[in-house]
Amino acid sequence: MKPEKTGRRCVLILLILLAAVFFLSFLLGRYRVSALQTARLLADRALAGISCGHLRLVPTWTPEEASVVIQIRLPRILSAALIGAALSAAGASYQAMFRNPMVSPDLLGASTGACFGAALAILLGASYAVITAGSFLFGLAAVGLTYLVGRLSRMRSNLAMVLAGVMVGSLFSAGTSFIKLVADTNEQLPAITYWLMGALTAVRLDDLHFAMLPILLGLIPLFFLRWRLNLLTISEAEARSMGVNTKLLRLAVIVCATLATAASVSISGMIGWVGLVIPHICRLLVGQNTRFLLPCSLLLGASFLMLVDDLARCLTTSEIPLGILTALVGAPLFLYLIVKGGARDAA
């Protein structure tokens, strides 16, 4: 069938795009490393990873080149890809679940909770690892609280959950504001502000290892549930009459999307717009079927955030926080889609 073919082709093209952006991102930056050298370094690293360090290439690179590519650029580019994929896939899943294309993955408070956790950790003078962990845990806690309130409410589940999310979100924002108020203005306040704007500057391989597990734990089930997510876009009565356990499916989506979102925010800070804009672009490419929409969002989101991070690194001598750039790129793109996409997307 035609739409299916389009879907497959789009996934393939986006996969190639992802590979290209991934590799090109290594070549950008003030310290020049040649493409060949970079490729050899990456191949060496991959070989070592697969064979547990038994197989290595003969080094043709200087230690400086190795350190720039493996210690500095690799964690950054990998985390940009992972975070972009996580936020976009979580956004696409949430949009299906809440039957609303305007929903972003922090609807239930994952990001605001994570920001509060990070601000609190910075206030207490914690180490970078503790900031990451605190942010992740508070992100989970915020969504857990939202879910609990939504379940306790006697209203219909979806609306109650959204309202609870708004409330929990503003509660944690208020908490973050209070922390900023009492924070030391010389060191802590700038650190909190900078963290909130989102950046991958400080990401090291260790942080990546910490965030990779929850992100993958969230993304992999979502990827395999990709067709079934369609069944959340119709009314609950219809889905149940088709033998779908809607409660379980919904809980699975919330857990997976929250794991991915909270883990992303915990290493990168607030990065808005990606989870909203990327699924929208993918809808224009492959249509509404989540079977293709989800993988496309995942791939395009990864490429998009790597590109934005490239901009953040190269545009000016001092780095621009990612959150500012995603908003600068995302918002106009979104406006364009609203105006131009109307013909195709009646929703």
């Binding site: 069938m1 035609k2 739409p3 299916e4 299906a96 039957r99 609303n100 294309p101 395999f224 549930l225 990709r226 067709w227 079934r228 369609n230 069944l231 876009t233 119709i234 009314s235 009565a237 219809e238 889905a239 149940r240 009459s241 088709m242 033998g243 779908v244 356990n245 499916l249 249509g287 509404q288 079927n289 079977r291 997307d345 009646a346 929703a347």
Partner: protein, 262 residues
């Protein structure tokens, strides 16, 4: 017996909405459920589909109580067609039909090529094959209802539960949809549909279930059950019944009228 409802009582809180409803349907039957607003039609359907837990009595599908069926097993017996379809996203007609495979596919599966072909075949049989890749928000109400019918068909259930299948359709489209339903039941499907149009019961039903205030006023052949007296007590307005010849067949039709004041 495909469907057997006996002495079904259901209540929201203290108020009984269904007060001992009993009826049954065999393979190939078309049961029209008639009744004024608030008679309990939707509640009855929700009990049939296992969404609501009855207070007393039972609903048996293919000889087994609804509550003993697993969700998936029930989906293999009963398919539900809602009154109106308001999707949040503009899925294609084909994708919408394929959603009916929810019970047959595992949680991590996608439809196979054979299943997609089957969906296309069903769309062709329903006469809307040309719309397969059209968005489901961009087709007419009648076409959408046929699409939902297709979704119910690919679900492979033996009984179709339809909540006012023609409520939002124009005259011609509701005729076309009802023709399809008639043809399907001739092929072995049992159909239970609710309607506010008694003429549809005359025209398409093999049996009529007349519900008022949660009680069955009558259950039987339309020609015998749908008397002017019954229709008046159902809807509270005087109704005249007469016969019309259309082609070689004779149909009963009815119309309400205002009693002239002397």
């Amino acid at each position: 017996m495909q469907l057997e409802v006996s002495d079904l009582v259901f209540s929201y809180g203290d108020e009984d909405v269904l007060k001992g409803v009993s009826f049954c349907a065999d393979r190939g039957e078309r049961i029209a459920v008639l009744g004024p607003n608030g008679a309990g039609k939707s509640t009855l359907f929700r009990c049939l589909l296992g969404f609501l837990e009855p207070k007393r009595g039972s609903v048996k599908i293919a000889g087994r109580d609804v509550r003993e069926h697993s969700r998936r097993a029930l989906a293999a017996e009963l398919a539900y067609i809602p009154q109106s379809y308001s999707p949040a996203f503009d899925h294609t007609v084909l994708d919408s039909v394929l959603m009916g495979l929810g019970a047959q596919l595992g949680p991590f599966d996608s439809p196979t090529r054979a299943q997609t072909d089957a969906a296309l075949r069903i769309l062709n049989e329903l006469g809307i094959g040309a719309l397969a890749s059209r968005g489901c928000m961009r087709i007419s109400g009648g076409e959408r209802q046929l699409m939902l019918l297709g979704r119910a068909l690919i679900q492979n259930a033996h009984t179709l539960v339809m909540d006012e299948p023609t409520a939002s359709l124009d005259y011609g489209n509701s005729f076309r949809v009802m023709q399809r339903i008639e043809a399907l039941s001739a092929g072995g499907y049992s159909v239970i549909f609710s309607t506010h149009e008694p003429n549809q019961a005359f025209r398409y039903a093999t049996k009529v279930l007349a519900l008022k205030d949660g009680q069955v006023l009558a259950f039987g052949l339309p020609g015998q059950v749908l008397t002017p007296e019954l229709l008046q007590s159902l809807y509270g307005v005087p109704v005249a019944v007469t016969q019309v010849q259309a082609g070689s067949r004779v149909f009963s039709v009815c119309t309400p009228y205002a009693q002239e004041e002397n």
